[in-house]
């Protein structure tokens, strides 16, 4: 009878009468809880972004991946989960920016400005066809 009152309105009235100190919320007792699964740190995805999109955003993703792991193994699970979201965001951002750059390049290639643009690049001393 005493144990069913957690979820029911009538039961809480019952609890007030008989147990003056309510039990602590379950998620605050961190000692005995089983640790949650390690959040996905998007490590290999951000490596792909770094290689393919050639922009610093992929590296930011990897740095957040490092943070996810170190926070998780320190036991700060909620914080780790939060940083994992950031890792995800930066990795997707890296892919997005890379995609926009490729589209920009394609437009440059198919409009008349491409030749002079290339000339510009070569005059500034960048070598060859690098990515």
């Amino acid at each position: 009878m005493e144990y069913r009152n957690d979820l029911e309105g009538e039961g809480s009235q019952y609890e007030k009468d008989y147990s003056p100190t309510p039990p602590p919320p379950p998620h605050e007792s961190s000692v005995d809880t089983i640790p949650p699964l390690k959040p996905n740190n998007w490590l290999w995805q951000s490596i792909v972004a770094t290689i393919v999109c050639c922009l610093p955003f992929g590296i930011v993703g990897i740095i957040f991946a490092v943070k996810v792991d170190s926070l998780y193994f320190k036991g700060q699970y909620a914080e780790s989960e939060r940083v994992a979201q950031k890792a995800k965001m930066w990795t997707i951002l890296a892919f997005g920016v890379g995609l926009i750059y490729i589209i920009f390049w394609a437009i440059m290639a198919y409009t008349g400005h491409f030749e002079e643009y290339m000339q510009n690049i070569l005059e500034r001393g960048a070598s060859g066809y690098n990515f």
Binding site: L43, T50, I62, A65, W105, A106, F131
Partner: protein, 127 residues
Amino acid sequence: MRKGVKIGIGVVVTVLLAAALYIFYTFDPEAQPLFPKCPFLLATGFECPGCGSQRAIHSLLHFDIGAALRYNAFMVLALPYIFLGIWLEYFGGKKRFSSIEKFFFGRWSAVVVLIVIFLFWIVRNLV
């Protein structure tokens, strides 16, 4: 519904990947001006950790591993690691071989990857 979306994404990714592989097999990024160049290289004159990936992919598709390593050694060495990650995450490797995941994607993996990338970045611009 969710499964349908997942299959749809898988199909789109596969088609795009196949198209990209076909383009990289057919055209040589060294000779064709159509391939995008690295904005970091254009801006600074230094190579970034991803520079040379397109030429390396082209070389790899023609089984010229030596040339691929010269263009971008990091990418060539990272490929197996990436494939391992894909397999673990999407093809059920994680459930069956959790020890492999613990070893390759465990506590220090991200730190090691970060250090390797920065070392490669510095060394390739010095040599």
